[in-house]
Symmetry: C2
Subunit: 170 residues, 2 copies
């Protein structure tokens, strides 16, 4: 028996990290989990990375995640933020290795293209599409909502890429 | 009984990572281990990060390391290299958290200052000083030698900083 496809999508950040877990089973897509993780800015960097690692290790084990979906990072205005994002991504790559997860990586443009059909779409447009697909997300507080919808957009991109591969194979 | 001070100094890189382990015991300094790790460029990033993490996890456990010394990164010419370095640093921060290691971080200038007495010293000058202190290192191949002497320079900076703190306390 093949294990069902279960994708963890993450939008990592030191302030808020959004995540979502989708499972594809017998042609249906289930939203197993979603939410966000906030790290305490006063804690030492190594402590925060430890909290981050443990949080997603538990998610991977609890939902028997088989694939991980991430956005490729781009250098924004702040070099320190960019480097610190690398610390979190390093922890995620390590988890992918330790749990033998297949890895999907998409540029922001590819995610927008997958979810809205247009690579130059606005961030709000992506959020609107995701909220249409998963109306329960509307309950999340407005500050963190974007992080969760972004994570689910990456997650969906991974799911659809996997679908296309299966169609091409069959 | 206080555990002896054992510092692991690392100069991380995706091509070559130099490392050294120094122990301070009853007023003497011992070089317990030194060398380098090469990652296979053809392996997936997450695999290489896994190899890196496991390698240093073993070193920390084998030598009962109590402290970790690193250089603060600076943005060089290549943004991708800078980000990838963050992945390795993330794995090291995680190890520091998981093994409860005290963390020392030094700018390249501080390391040069500590080892040669002059913050503007050349890289070769640092290597010369380290080779004088640890003549056995001369056996290492020339290509990797600089990575090992850099790692030991950071390690020594950590050791001496710890010494100063003890003197101030007494």
């Amino acid at each position: 028996m093949i294990k069902p496809l279960t994708i963890l999508g993450i939008d990592p950040g030191f302030t808020v990290t959004g995540y979502g877990v989708l499972r594809k089973q017998e042609g249906k897509t289930y939203l197993l989990d979603y939410g966000y993780l906030k790290l305490k800015p006063k804690e030492h960097l190594s402590q925060r990375i430890g909290v981050f690692y443990n949080f997603f290790k538990e998610k991977i084990e609890a939902h028997q995640v088989s694939q991980l979906a991430l956005e490729t990072p781009f250098l924004g205005k702040n070099v320190q933020t960019f480097l610190k994002l690398g610390y979190l991504r390093g922890a995620l790559y390590l988890l992918a290795n330790q749990h033998d997860l297949a890895l999907h990586e998409f540029s922001p443009r590819e995610v927008k293209q997958a979810v809205t059909g247009f690579g130059g779409a606005q961030k709000e447009q992506v959020a609107t599409m995701i909220l249409r697909l998963f109306p329960n997300l509307a309950k999340i507080g407005n500050i963190e909502k974007q992080d969760v919808t972004d994570a689910l957009a990456v997650c969906l991109s991974g799911l659809w890429q996997d679908n296309r591969k299966r169609l091409l194979r069959s």
